[in-house]
Amino acid sequence: MSRLDWLSEYLARLIDEHVVVRSGDAQGLAPAHRLVLDSEDWGAAARVAAAFGCRWAGVWGDVEAGDSEGTQLTLRAALERDGGFVVLETEVPVTFPVLASHTNHFPAADRMERHLRDLLGVGFHDHPDARRWVRHQAWQENEFPLRHYVAASGHPPLRTRADSDYPFLRIQGNGVYEIPVGPVHAGIIEPGHFRFQAMGEEVLRLEERLGYTHKGIEKIAVGRDPAALARLAARVSGDSTVAHAWAACQAMERATHCQVPPRALFLRALMAERERVANHLGDIGAICNDVGFAFAHMQCGRLRELWQRSSHALFGHRFMMDALIPGGVARDLPADAPARLRAEHAALRREIAPVFAVVDDHPSLDDRLIGTGCLSAADARLLGCTGYVGKASGQAFDLRHDSPYAPYDRLHVDVPVQQEGDVAARVRVRMEEVRISLLLMDRLLDLLPSGPIAATLPQPAGGTTGLGLVEGWRGEILAFVRFGADGRIARYFPRDPSWFTWPALERLIHGNIVPDFPVCNKSVNGSYSGHDL
């Protein structure tokens, strides 16, 4: 447990603050260490963790429900430091689920706590923001969809009111005006509303209003069997289908102590790296296109398309959707695949060299990207940004390197870090990650073991829980799974890294000009779907 060296000191500090840890264990949510607290100590534990330098990695709630609803509502919050994870756990009565908020110590907790309040009815008595977040106009005021008594279909009214009365914060002043953008955008992107307060062209404040792609993932996961959950997880965010499916499968496999065959793990890693390369290529091109540099867009688009066609030929799907199943992978590679993949990696390495050289060092592009949309290292740290957003702002955290899961425990993963935090730094991190992923994939092919590609998932025992932690292309993905007494899913919560990069966008746009917003947004590229759930 070397990654949790700090745990004893954290516990000591908790004692100093008179926080009582009722129990704790390292098994229930391995690799994280579980600490059970009294609900009155919920806020104090976060305060100590913040002072101790932990990163806040998510909060989710859970009501034990059989035929009728249980009496206790369980809340869990994940903390990370030096690659070691701790999950704080507490219970509050369902009849009066009120406790302290973590937002005052970790700003990153703001929207996830509001999400929890909207969906499960948990009250945070000192939460700074009382506005609803994901709650739609179609929901009744006191109806909490994740509660047992609410049907998955909900009770939609015949006609839903327009969502026009969300109280955005306004800036008053001479010459200040408001620009509403979205939720329907030009171009093929997901829906989300952005409200700018601008003075001339300068952005004084940006406020996001998301939730338009809420699909009820957490609700419709309940009652599924493991295979069906893997399919659902693959649809949390389409561009991260491999990573989310892997996180969900990992959680279920840890809960049931399933031994996944090594070949399956290597194939999963191969797919996750392919997903990373495909998305980075697409985004690098799109960032250039947003500043009117179509050449790089076309070249990156072409390379990405060829890459995805090959994913379709070798892995069965352009995005490799549903390629992962609990216990392994759905299909093996054709016999000639390693040779073809190696040739493809070499070809891509050759092709990206001149394109990336242009993107990296084109004066006209530099002029637009350098210094635009700066996210300070302090903000990145405060918001717990992972992935390229964090890495471009000096946060060198990567699960594959700092808390490696199989098969990355057998590989060396380089983590590219930049300090500038601007759009150019995010582009450089992505380019570097493409190069690193190409090397990793060659290495994975070198080490690719033979053998079976899937194990049968053991019948899950009722009440067992599992935590999945996977480095997706956007950053750290966390997935929590609890099985019910019937061996089916009782609770599934996927936490996409976008929860932390969306607030980062609001900060990094500050002081930039309105026409630079699209390129800033694209350089962060948060997932709407993965965030809205």
Binding site: V181, E201, S364, D367
Partner: protein, 317 residues
């Protein structure tokens, strides 16, 4: 003879309208080839216009009559401005009634209505586009006037026909003032026609738009007229640059052979200019909005240098 001249003037005016989409199609085609793409067919711009004219025209509830009138005003003003610029031949009757100051004035009129229409519906994007367009115009117009005054000083006339005539009569003389004025006019043309690096005509991002943001609310034939006017404006600037600075080939007598040669010459020159524009748009990214004033200040500076160059080097020489 006079009737023929008038017929030719009308034919030239119609040619502007007919050729404008082709130039846009050509620039798009060259750009696509430079990006290793096949690109849309050369005639796609015509098809788009045809399609838009066939579509229903939707107007926002909040639109005033000005919104409906603006496309016609913009189109006609731009077209009238184009008529004053010699395309095939000099000394046409239309040239006698309009000089470069009128051209600048007509273009300003078109822009005025375009900006009003952008603000008329009351969306944030239209107002934003109008404000940016005015920022650009306020700097581009003086630079353009200064550049053409440099030419006018050599010809002792602000009439473009006379300028071209004077240029041809003088033969091949290297004038520093012309080079500076050409530089200035090229920069102004990029800004005024909404090309990269000032504006991106191909973008879908409302927040970055200038020209497109103002016509965002238009549809059907209104949009077609706005698009067509923008294409005519591009052609207008193209012809202004190639025929004033490189007038060789333009018809000085209204004879069929001369006119044929004039047509061939202007088409070749425009194709070359279009290709240069496409190369420029491929190698450059769009610049940050607040760099545009510096860009246009450079144009003004070049024009001023041209004017000084003329006074110092050419007057009395």
């Amino acid at each position: 003879m006079n009737a023929t001249a008038w017929l030719l003037a009308i034919a030239q005016a119609l040619l502007y309208v007919a050729l404008a989409p082709l130039l846009v199609g050509w620039v798009r085609k060259v750009k696509a080839r430079l990006q290793n793409r096949r690109g849309p067919p050369l005639l796609q711009a015509y098809r788009d216009l045809y399609k838009l004219f066939g579509k229903e025209t939707r107007v926002a509830h909040t639109a005033s009559p000005l919104f409906r009138a603006a496309p016609y005003v913009v189109f006609i003003a731009t077209w009238l401005a184009a008529m004053a610029i010699p395309l095939l031949a000099v000394d046409l009757p239309t040239a006698a009634i309009a000089d470069i100051i009128v051209v600048v004035g007509l273009l300003a009129l078109a822009r005025f209505f375009l900006a009003l229409a952008g603000m008329d519906v009351g969306t944030a994007f239209g107002g934003m586009g109008a404000s940016r367009e005015m920022l650009i115009a306020a700097l581009a117009e003086p630079a353009m006037l200064m550049a053409v005054f440099t030419l006018a000083m050599t010809a002792h006339s602000t009439n473009l026909s006379s300028v071209v005539d004077a240029h041809l009569a003088a033969g091949l003389v290297l004038r520093p003032s012309y080079l500076f004025a050409l530089g200035a006019l090229l920069l102004v043309a990029l800004a005024e026609t909404g090309r990269i690096p000032v504006d991106n005509p191909a973008t879908h991002l409302e927040l970055t738009m200038v020209h497109e943001a103002m016509i965002l609310e238009y549809s059907g034939r209104h949009l077609a007229l706005m698009e067509w006017a923008a294409q005519i404006k591009l052609l207008l600037y193209g012809v202004l640059i190639v025929n004033v600075f490189l007038p060789w080939g333009i018809a000085r007598e209204l004879l069929p052979a001369d006119l044929g040669l004039g047509f061939a010459a202007v088409v070749v020159k425009l194709l070359l200019l279009g290709a240069v524009l496409a190369v420029g748009e491929t190698v450059l990214a769009k610049m940050r909005l607040f760099r545009v004033p510096a860009f246009l200040n450079l144009a003004l500076l070049l024009a001023l240098l041209g004017l000084l160059g003329h006074v110092i080097l050419e007057v009395g020489a």
